[in-house]
Symmetry: C2
Subunit: 343 residues, 2 copies
Amino acid sequence: MTTIKDIAKEAGVSVTTVSRALNGYYDVNENTRKKIQQIAAELNYSPNSVARSLVTSKTKTIGLLVSELSRSALKDSFMVEIMGGLNAYAGEAGYDLILFSTDSAKQRLKSYSQLCRERQVEGAIMLGMKKDDPYLTEVIESNIPCVLIDIEMSGENVGYVTTDNEFGAQTAVKHLINLGHRNIAMVNGHDQALVSQHRLKGYKKELQEAGITFRQHWVVDGQFQEETAEKEAEKLLQEYPEISALFCASDLMALGAMRSAKKLGRNIPESLSIAGFDDIVLASYAHPPLTTVAQDKYKMGYEAGKLLLHILNGDPTKRVTILDNHLVIRNTTTANNQKVPFN
Amino acid sequence: MTTIKDIAKEAGVSVTTVSRALNGYYDVNENTRKKIQQIAAELNYSPNSVARSLVTSKTKTIGLLVSELSRSALKDSFMVEIMGGLNAYAGEAGYDLILFSTDSAKQRLKSYSQLCRERQVEGAIMLGMKKDDPYLTEVIESNIPCVLIDIEMSGENVGYVTTDNEFGAQTAVKHLINLGHRNIAMVNGHDQALVSQHRLKGYKKELQEAGITFRQHWVVDGQFQEETAEKEAEKLLQEYPEISALFCASDLMALGAMRSAKKLGRNIPESLSIAGFDDIVLASYAHPPLTTVAQDKYKMGYEAGKLLLHILNGDPTKRVTILDNHLVIRNTTTANNQKVPFN
DNA sequence: TTGTATGCGTTATCAG
DNA sequence: CTGATAACGCATACAA
């Protein structure tokens, strides 16, 4: 590894000059700069960012904290796409991403905030955490600049990015209502997810606007899991066969619900309409292809990076980014032709 | 940020003692150690890995070099699963992952090896590169310890992990042959992929063993892309309707082929059997669910990490890891009932 | 068992 | 325009 010292010796100048020449300072003679640059190139020099970080106390590093990069939970392309967007923005801003995932040996040994401090990350993005995740409060309390995905917490050094979940839910439910459905049940995620609450709210609101009475027992929790959703949907559909449409708070759960419908002999969409949320890759490949509320996950990651840099740059104005979404109508929803009477 | 200096002052000892106490050296009095540990805890101390790295010249960092984390290519869960496995092993070994992806502003400005040198990564894992990718040769020549996924290159500091592609292809083709198929075509990836060559070899070998003559024009390249595969398969099936089975070198291409088959009115599997390779998430959700050669992508990442650490530890013996795979029979393959005569 | 001194590669301060 | 010199936080050879 060649250092600026080597270059200095070779060029017959001091390390100071080398440093300044290479960093584009203006107070250095153009000829010496040229010479130094040339020698640097010849010696295949790369600056040692570790040493630089030590003195500048800037690592140009963002920590990406994900709750599980483990075997499960990979079905939804969610995480990857967000990572893609984040990585793109980070790259543009001259930052690199360092990955912290919970599912390793260090899991209980070192906390996230410890990891962040050790690695001296300038800020963090948190992904896939539940509201009650101990790591979440820990990082927030640790005062590390931080952007959360889909968790509404903000403050001095904390911001979040999410989509307009209430609106998204409304568009989906409105779509079902417009198709003549009135017996619309919902498969939600769980209480610990903010998005669940908002999507539920949108569902209620839209029902209300259409003059349809909300029924608490027509809302079940699928834990954002395919299997759980399948079971819950099955119970629900068995007990209330008059349900003609299902709004699911995630695509994965919608896939589970579709499976339960098939098991019960309900054809989709003729005998049961189903709408999801997210538009994961699987949605368009499902059979039939799933009608769903599409959110731009890549952009979510990109905007998260942008927001984090706002915070890092001390801009006090912006802490929240709400992205929009839109309904993608595919083949799991159709006009209601239920024989049973309305409520 | 509290440093060992703060602790030293507080404990009334020298920084040396603090350093050794915290790093578990034996030549320090148990009482002083206790005291120091306690103070460290009180002050919420975290060692500064940047400073440590500078002096030890070990960063405990692995660079994960992926060719594209961009919007496309996210359909196959491949990358994520590999990352999951790698991350798990890295965590166990006390390493963190730093992400380098090509699709950013720095794309042409900084080469991968520059990035690696700057960040002082101890080693790198390369993922999703083509054989002729300039970055590939660059990193290898740069002498950074490196493990490649699915690219057969090895040497002093370079190793690779892949699956037994020839064997996998053979099991898939054998399965088709056992079902009575003889007119079996292949949708391959492209020449720049090692796995393509091996899978082709397995395909040929198995045909030969069954006494079926190999036909070069029954092998088309789908570029590992769904759309290209769809087009190529369509042309192939139109020109040679006697083809009763298709072996595809990736699941994504198999999905493309399935689409072309449907377009041509060929029911799957009754009128056309299709087998894929990889067993990505989409495979089991396809309609009908795809028969495919399953490889353990999580393990691939895990083993890649393991192999890299072998190299880093100077173990000269191990440079190659070949994982096994197995055929998962789903519903896209069935007994041949083609009316047209054999070759 | 503990402390002193030195250096890792770089940037920053200040004097020339 | 250029160069000594100190400092970042830590680990380590050596001395005590």
